[in-house]
Structure formats: structure tokens, C-alpha cells
Symmetry: D3
Subunit: 245 residues, 6 copies
């Protein structure tokens, strides 16, 4: 089985962190390939970044269709362009926020998300509602962290997350903690041992879910919403998006 | 890996159907053990049946804790007593309705459930809401089928389901179909080939999800809601439920 | 008129407290009979306890059908197995949480529930949503109290409830307080005089509502959801549940 | 016990119908007094009518406070000005739509409302949501009926309601029917015997609920929302509304 | 273009404040006429006041239909009787709470309302839900202010609002502030410059929205809900409401 | 006042239709400039198209900031990338779906949307929920129409829309109709005269709303969600998106 994980930002250190997390839980026989898009933002922290990472991400799914992949993972906690990606392949496409929330819904009655700078809170809350897990959300605890702080000061980063996670557990009654950025993947186990409640990184959740979906063998429904996009002219620098993969 | 599937009714033909479905998708290395409770109803078609299947089902989870299982599956589309089962083990416990809805939410934008006699519709709708998938529900199409009709007249049963499923696809805009009874497991592939949209049996979805959860290695949170039940006296024929397993 | 109140746990001191509360508000001409099941848990504080109190509780409804009762009350704030009980009789069956919330909705714009140990909070919240009173819920204030603390230390118990109730009134803007355990019935009037806002015990609310329903003379609808359960084989220690009452 | 039922319109034939329905279910010892306001619309079929019946209705509650009443009932299925009425008395005030929905929620899993001309549908739907019973609403079936048709052509009226009620039961899966106008009170029993499912008139439901509330003895909370209105100047023809009762 | 603004209370100082605010943003060519009803409460702070201001307010709309107005604004943050007013004219009728929330939804992701005494909070929250902006509501911050405090102590009033608004911004993450009373119109700009986030007075929002609606030229739909009220007899002091305008 | 309308697809005939509609309602003194992006899809009918039109659309907003515009309108009924656009300017940015729904909410109690091919229905429904108008949605009536059918067969197109709109009015009780594609702008008046209920094209609604917002003078809140995006490196063909405008 071949799974393509796409880190939708262009920061290669983060791509490596994600790759390491993915490989760490993949089964023998699962081949993980982790990439960044050829163009786009160095990190994703706003709607602006989300919409501008999408074409590069979509491009990687399109290329993946010629590379014999069995499933795709979008490794950014905003699950950008997930619905668009599902339209262009019958293979399962899984977002790491979606995977983390599904997992949390199985092992806890309510969960909190510890995340980045406060501006991301609104988009995260909307994502939770979109998936239907609003009634299981104890809180979103935003912090002072930017995405790229993870690479520059991992110890400071984990300390900030630790404080937010303890508040989520003790004040918000979170029974599990979700890490709100793919770059936090390395911190999950350490925080879990300190907190005494499950701490979930979406990358590892998504890899396991993707393996399950591939083996289940059910295609993405091509009836209505996720049907292949209508063939049409794309102009300018996006001309290739109008062609078949 | 050892997964215990519990058919919460006492009809052994259905237990065999479920076992066959579970084994059919289990990976090499996954051992499936499917059982029925020692006491309880022959089929589950009412709240009455749901509450009265629960103790026997819980009993099987309790026994399972001494039998070296890694995960449990509740193989009735009402997911009876799921929260109670999660309290008495740290191993993942998965309901087949939950598993089918999670799977459907990944491969379709909205789904329908084709199910049993009309009285079950209210409980199914409440279950969909409980998991948070109300906004993805195209319809619940109830039928004239009782649970045990499956064993007695499989061809009549699949014909009834087929009619309901086509209506769900064509009138309700369902992009995937969920089979609303564990006993329907054998019919999924045949209906899918006829309908041209994914048809999901919850048993196979649950087996793949259980394997994923076991490999992920995250315990059920024992903080708050799913903590071990308080030790206390149970009296009468339930005396053993007050003892440790 | 004869009303059967079922305390779904097997602690007779609590059954007596409930009986006293029920008789205290019953009209002349209303005969209150309060019982505990023959088997089950000494107290109900988890989903595990809820599911395991249900058969004994259902058994008491079934027996009640031969004892000439006009209505039934389930005297545990989780309203366990209420839907199942409604299936097996045309007489009104009322849960004390349901009765307390209905009453609160008539005399206040929003209410709080002061309750037991924190693990019960999730099930209480889900109950509130199930009845449709989510928009009227100011807060659920859990405490350190176990069910059986009421019998062992009533003064400590009322002090704990008092603190929670004042916080609910002053910080959460509760306009009425609901006592989240049938065992708290004796404390309502004392707390109300201290707080200056209505304090509702579900048992007395349920008795008055049951009397009203009996006199109204409307049966439980036997169409669809609450139809009599299908007759079928029950095996093992539950064999009798398959027979007519 | 003295209960004042206020028919908020000024059509005395309807006031008599309501009075008859109320007396029919009142207990010995309950004195029913049914009145119409001194000013206002002959029937209530629009928001315009609702807002313009309110002052006359409020006036009757104010007068009632000097007439030794124990409870008040607002006998129009829109429950006009209910919150305002609750502010000016500590006695229970009950709307007939509220009472009918509460009753239906106890004896059925979902209900339909058969009502007046289509324009009233939006206000009825909003009322259902306001009380929190949206998840129990099978449908609202509007008809061609105006309020005053009841007095002029009762047989034509019941025939129209019958057709709507059968459709609600058979197509919408209603397990109980609510009559969406106080003027329909006489038709409930006849329709119920034909339909085979409970048919509820709000007036009788409200009388029983009011009796229960009076005996329960809990005042309307005067904390926050339902506190007595601030004393202030009212000018012009409403000058008296600024004085104490 | 002629816009009639109706201050539904009878306090002329407030009518002048509202008029000044309205004229301040009206375009050249827009004629603003601001009035109070001929009868009703001096201020609106309860459901009682809301229902009793409605007839005088409706009367002003009715008179307006003979005065050649193009649009109407209801200048009380509770938007009293808005639906009734829409029934009696095809001209746009806009509530200031509605206008403020629509505006806030365009320039911020979530907003808070700083308002009057705590008892008004429940009605404000219900209004937010009614318009569908519940998911955009950061908080409602009630204060100690009565409506008429604005005229008597404007500096004390603005200080109280300032404190509430800073808490809304800093603790509730409000991205915009709505002033919860028409009498606060003068304070918006000063608070906005201090807070650094948009502060919206509903009166000015409503004037701009009304101008836009008039120029758009779309009538209020007279199909179903907002159809002209049925012609019928109104009796007593409301006799004129039964006649055509 | 200068308003930039961006048709996010690259079909110039549609840009001209939109421009004509916009100019038709703009006030004297309002300068309308309508453009298409330099790159992207010829029409927008899928999530794929939505995400791939976004960068070109965002590019037009960025350019607009140097072109002295006072407001921006996104002229596609999916309101693509609206939140992203609000981050990069303090000027009001309005989506045509948002503007149409706001307008409909003022002049009708519930509305229907007549739209394109069925696959777009899910995204439209999610948009309605996102804005909070779910309780005002009578139905979404999809059709067989592709976006570019409007240019090729306008008469066939209006006939298809007419049929859908009559069904929405007569079967779904829609009190107003929204045209679910910017390309339908020319058809609104003709359909309205036939249907007898308001028919709204989002382009004209958005122009009037934009004018109102500009004159109101309130900036988009730069606190939290809509703050300017963090400055960061954008790579590859998107390199310019990382620079200030």
C-alpha cells in the first residue's frame, strides 16, 4: 500500500517531521511518501494561506494519480481543500483534523484542541462544526505559537502547549487533547505521559485511518458532490488544471 | 491482534453471518472471535430489546478482559450500551453504526440508511444525531423487514433493501447507502454493484476501524466520562456485575 | 389513582426518601407505591450502572401492569430506560429529570442542574439535549458527591449542593435550580428558601405531572416508536422478558 | 383552586367552546373562569393579530391578580405574550401550545400539528423551536381553515382537519396529532377515535398542567428574565399599564 | 427617499438622539422622520414593555402608509413587532438589532453585544438566534444600565459600556461590539476609537440598509407569512386597527 | 465611490452580464468596475473549481488595493474565498450569495434557491448554514443547468429556472426566490413578474449592500480572524502573494 502525505506548506523541516510521524505508525507494507507542493506559503495560519496552499496541494493529488498511490493525507490541521481533493480521485483522501476528531470521538466523550495564534480559532471552530463534532468540543485553546516556531524553539513550543493542555483538562474538562498543527507531531507522546489523558496528533491518526480505508476497498462516491469535476478550460498559469491528469 | 465481535442478540445464524463478514476483511494476523451473549433477546427491534440485550453484551466485554482481546465491536446497528462498554475497558470499543457513519462521512457528502421496520426509525435518527452526522443524513428509509427475515428469506430481503436503496439514491440524493442491520452484511457488495454508489455494512467498517485503533495504541480516556465505574454492590441475578472482572 | 414510583437502584433508604417526597405532594386519592428492583446496582453513577439498572426497572413496569397502576415514575435523574418502559404500557411513564426540566421551563427562562461527581455531567448534558431544553440550560454544576453520600452525611451533602447552587445562580445566571439526584429530594425547600429562586426536586414534579397525565386520560401512542415490542424468544436468565406480562 | 383561562380573541362563541373544554377536564374543586379581553381582534391569524391581542390579554392577567386566581392559561395556539404574562405574576402561566407539546412529548416520539391557513405555519414552526421540540416535530399541516370557520361550519372544519391528520399520520409518521387552534377543542376525541393515535387539544392539556403546577406550589422565578417589570410611565390609552395592579 | 424611524418608546429625548444619529449618516436626498408612538411605555426593558409598545409602533407604520414613506426602521434593540410590521406594508421594515447584526456579520467573524440590565439578556439571546447569528455571537455583556440612564448620566453610561466592551474584546474575543440600545447611538464612535475594533450602533446601520433596500426596489413578499392581515373586527380601544389605513 | 466586482471565472460574457446588472442598480456617483481574474477556470461548478478560482480572485483584491476601490464584490454564488479576501483589506468585501440571503431575510420569512447541476447542492446548503440562514431555507432546487448554458441558450435556461421556481413556490412554500448563479442576473425581473414573489439576483443585492457599507464607513475588524495575514515566504508561481501589495 502506498500513501501520499501532502504537507500543504513549503517548509521542508515540517515535511520531515510529518514524514517521521507517519512512518512511525505505518504498518510494514505501507509505503509513506511525504511531499510539499511546488508552490505556495511557507506556513498556513490564515484563510489567505489556506486558499493559496490549495492549488499546490491539489496539484500533488493530481500527480499522485499517476504515481500509483492508494490513499492521500492532507497534513495541515485546517484540512484545506479536502472536498476538492475528494472530487479528483476515487482513492480515500483524509484530513488530519478529521482523523484526529474521529479518533477522539471513539476514545473520549469530549476533547479540546490546543492550537496556534488566536486568529486560527474561528477557522478551527468552523471545521469542528463542519465535521459534526461540536457537541464533543470542550474548548479550543489558542496560544502564542506560529507554525514555524516549532522548528526554531521546540522546547518553548512544548512548554506553551503543555500549559494550554493542562488548562483544557482541568478547566474545560477535556478528556483528550488534539494537537492543532501537523508540526506538533513529535510532542504527542511526551504530553500524553504528563497529562494522563490521550493526546492525539492528526498525522498518525490519519495514517491508520487511511490504511483502514484502503483495505476496506470502498471508493469515494462519484455520485453528485464528489463526482469528477466537469472538464473545462483553465487559463493562464492554471492552464494545466483544465487537462486530465 | 485479537478482536472480539459481539452480536448482542442470541440468534446464532446471525452471529455466523457477522463472523463471516468480519473475517472477510480482517488482515492476516487479526484474529476475529464472534459471540452472542449468554442471555437476552433473539433480535433487537425496540428500545425494550436494546436495554435487555445490554447486560449480556456488557458481560461479554467483561469476560473479554480476561481473554486477551485488543478491541471490541458491538455488532448491532443501534450500537447498544456503547458508552457503558467504553467505561469497563481501556481497549477501543466500536459500534457498527458509528463505524459505518464515519466511513460514509469520508467517502460521501451525504448518505442514507436503509433499515428495518418503521418503529426503529426514531432510534436510528437519534443515533445519527448523537454521533453528529445529522447534516450528512439524506434519509432513513425504513422497510417491512424484521431482523430474522434475513435468515428466512434472504432473496426477499435483498429485494426489499434494493427498492429502498434506489429510492434513497434517486429521490433523497444519497451518495452512499448504509445497511441498517448487522444481518444485512452479506448483501452489501451485490447492492453496491447494482446501485453504482458505495454500500456500507457496518461490520466490515468496524473491523477495519478497530484494527486501526489497536495499532494506533491510544487508550480510551479514563478521565471523567469513561472512567472505570465506581465499585459497588450489585444485587440479585446481577450480583457478579459488582465484582471486578 | 395508583402511581408506581420505581427507584432504579437497590438502596432502600433512598427508596424511602423518594417515597416520602412523593407522598408529600400527592393528592388525597392518589396512592403512591415506591419500590426498588429485585436486582441491580446500589446506586447509578455511570453508563454501566444505567444499563444494568434497566432490566430490574423494566421488570417493575411489567409487574405493575398486573397491579392496577395508572402511571409510572422512574426516580433516577438519568431517566434510564424511559423509552423502553413507554413501549410496554399505554399508561404514562415519566422520568424525574424530564419532569423537573418541564417544570423549570414553565417557571424560569433558564435553569442549572446541581449534580453528582463530574463523570455524570456528560450523560446529564445529553439528557438535556434529548428533551430539547439545551437552550434553557444555564449550566450543569457537578460536585464531589456520590449518590450514597446523601444517606451517610446529609448535612455535608446539602452544604456541597448549596455552594454549587449559589455559583449557578450568581455566575451562570440560573433562574431555577434542579437537583440532579432523586436522593436530594429532602433538600429542595431548604435550599429554595436560602437561594430565593425555585429549587426543583424531580420526584415531586413527576408526581404532579403523572396525576395530570392520568386525569387527562391520553394513552401513550402505540403507533411506531412506542408500539408494544415484537414478541420473541428471550434466552437464559432473561427468559421471562420474552413472555407476556 | 381558581384558574383563569383567557381566550385572547374577542369572539365569545370561541370563549364558550374553550370554557366547555376546560370545565370538561377540570377536577372537582377546580374553578374555571374563561374570558375574552375587553379590546382586540376577533380572531388571531397573523403576527399583526398576535401583537394586537396582547395588551387586552395582559390586561386580563393584571385584573386576575386582584381576583384571587391561582393560575392562568392563554388559550390561543400561538401562546401570544406568554413571557410578558409571566413577568407580572408569580402564579403559573401556561400557553396551550406549550401544554400540548409537553403532553405530546410524553406520549409520543414525534407529533404533527394540524392547523389554520398556510400563513400561520411560520409562526407555529418558530414556536415549536422556541420550546425546544423541533426534533419531535413530524410536520405542520396547514389547511384552508380560518379561525372563525369553526363556528360557522363545524362539520366542514372537522372534515378538513381529518384529511390533514390522516396525511400527517400516514405520510409524515406522526405518532400524535396536535390541534393548532383553541377553537378545535371539541373535535379531539372524535378525531382520535378515527385515527387511532392520540389527538391533543391544548386547552385540556393546559388545564391539567395548570392544576399540577398550582399544587406543586412553585412560583415563577422572579430572578432576571421574569422579574416584575420596572415601574415606569405609560402614556396615552395605555396609561393604566404603568400603574400597579 | 423618505424613511420613517419609529422609536417605540415615548421618551422624546431618546427620539431626538435617534433622529440625530439617523440624519448623521443619511445621504443627501434621504429624508429622515423620527417619531414616538402616541401611547405606550417610556422605555422598553422587559417582555411586558415590548408587547405594550407594539400597538403604538404598529399604529405609526399604519399612519406611515398614508405619509408617503419608502421604508421604516424600528429603533429599539429588541426589534419589537418586526414581523407584524412587515405584514402591513410592502415597504422594507428594518429592525436596528437586525441591521447591526447583519453589518457585524460582514466586518467581523464574531461579535459581542453590550447591553442593559441583566433581565434583557434572555430576550437578546433569543433575538440573535432568531436571526441565525448564534454562531457569530461571542457574548452578551449585560450591565447595570436602565434605558433612561443614558439621558440622565451620559458619562456614567459610557464608562459602564466601556468596561463591558473591553471585557468582551479581551475575554470573549469579540471582533466587533454592538450597542444594545438605541439610546447609546451617540457613544459608538468614541468607544470605537478607544477599543480599536468596530463599534456599531444599530440606528445608523439600519438607515444605510434601508436606503439600500429602497433603491433595490424589492417589495416585502406578500406570499404566505407577510401577507396583508385578514380584514376582521377589532373591538374596544383597538377598533381602528380593524379598519384599512 | 468605486466598487470592484470580481467575477471569479474567466468567461468574459458572464463578466459583462454581471457588469450590466451591477451598473443597472448602482447609484449615480458609484463607479462599477467588473473584472475576471488573469488565470483560473472558465466556470465554477465544483469544489475543485472553487479552490482554483480563489488565487486569481485574491489577486484581483490585492491589485484593487492600489486602484483606489472602496469595496469589493465576489460575483459567484458560492462566495469563494470570501474570508481570505476580508483578511487582506479593511474595505468591505461582500459575496453575492451572502447579499442575496441577507436581502431575502428582510423581505420574506423563507426562501428557496434555484441553482445549477445537482452536484452544487451540497456546497450551497453548507453556505446557507455558514451564514446562519438554515432556518429560513425552504429548499434548494437544483437543475440541469451548467454555468455556461446561460450564454449559449438563455431562453432554455430561463425556462428551466422558471419550472424550478414555480415548484419552489408551490411545493416548498418559498416566499422569495434566489438565483443561484451570477450568470442568471438578467432573468430576475422577468421571473419575478411571472411568479408574483420577489426574485433576487445576488449581484444587484451586493451592489446596494456595498454602497451602504461604504457610506457607513465601518472597516473590517482587524482584530483576530480578519487580521492581515502574517508576512511570510510564498514560493514558486505564487511568489508574489508573499509580498505586500
Amino acid at each position: 500500500m502506498r500513501i501520499k502525505i501532502i504537507n500543504p506548506n513549503t517548509t521542508l523541516e515540517m515535511t520531515q517531521t510529518i514524514d517521521r510521524a507517519g512512518r512511525g505508525v505505518a504498518r510494514e507494507g505501507t509505503q509513506i511518501v511525504t511531499v510539499s507542493p511546488e508552490f505556495g506559503p511557507a506556513s498556513i495560519e490564515s484563510h489567505y494561506d489556506e486558499y493559496l496552499c490549495a492549488p499546490g496541494l491539489i496539484d500533488e493529488i493530481r500527480k499522485g494519480e499517476n504515481e500509483n498511490f492508494d490513499a492521500y493525507i492532507i497534513a495541515c490541521f485546517g484540512d484545506p481543500a479536502l472536498d476538492a481533493c475528494r472530487e479528483i480521485t476515487v482513492k480515500p483522501v483524509i484530513g488530519i483534523a478529521e482523523a484526529a476528531m474521529i479518533t477522539a470521538s471513539i476514545i473520549s466523550a469530549q476533547f479540546s484542541i490546543v492550537s496556534l495564534i488566536p486568529r486560527t480559532k474561528a477557522v478551527t471552530r468552523e471545521l469542528v462544526m463542519h465535521y459534526g463534532f461540536g457537541h464533543k468540543l470542550a474548548s479550543i485553546r489558542s496560544t502564542t505559537l506560529h507554525v514555524l516556531d516549532v522548528e526554531q524553539d521546540p522546547e518553548g513550543c512544548i512548554q506553551t502547549l503543555r500549559e494550554a493542555a493542562f488548562l483544557a483538562r482541568d478547566e474545560d474538562e477535556a478528556e483528550a487533547i488534539l494537537l492543532g498543527c501537523a508540526g506538533f507531531a513529535d510532542f504527542a507522546d511526551r504530553l500524553e505521559s504528563e497529562l494522563g489523558i490521550p493526546v492525539l496528533d492528526g498525522v498518525v491518526c490519519a495514517v491508520k485511518l487511511a490504511e483502514a480505508m484502503v483495505e476496506l476497498g470502498k471508493p469515494t462516491s462519484k455520485y453528485l458532490t464528489y463526482a469528477l469535476p466537469e472538464r473545462k478550460v483553465y487559463s493562464g498559469i492554471f492552464e494545466k488544471f483544465g487537462r486530465a491528469t
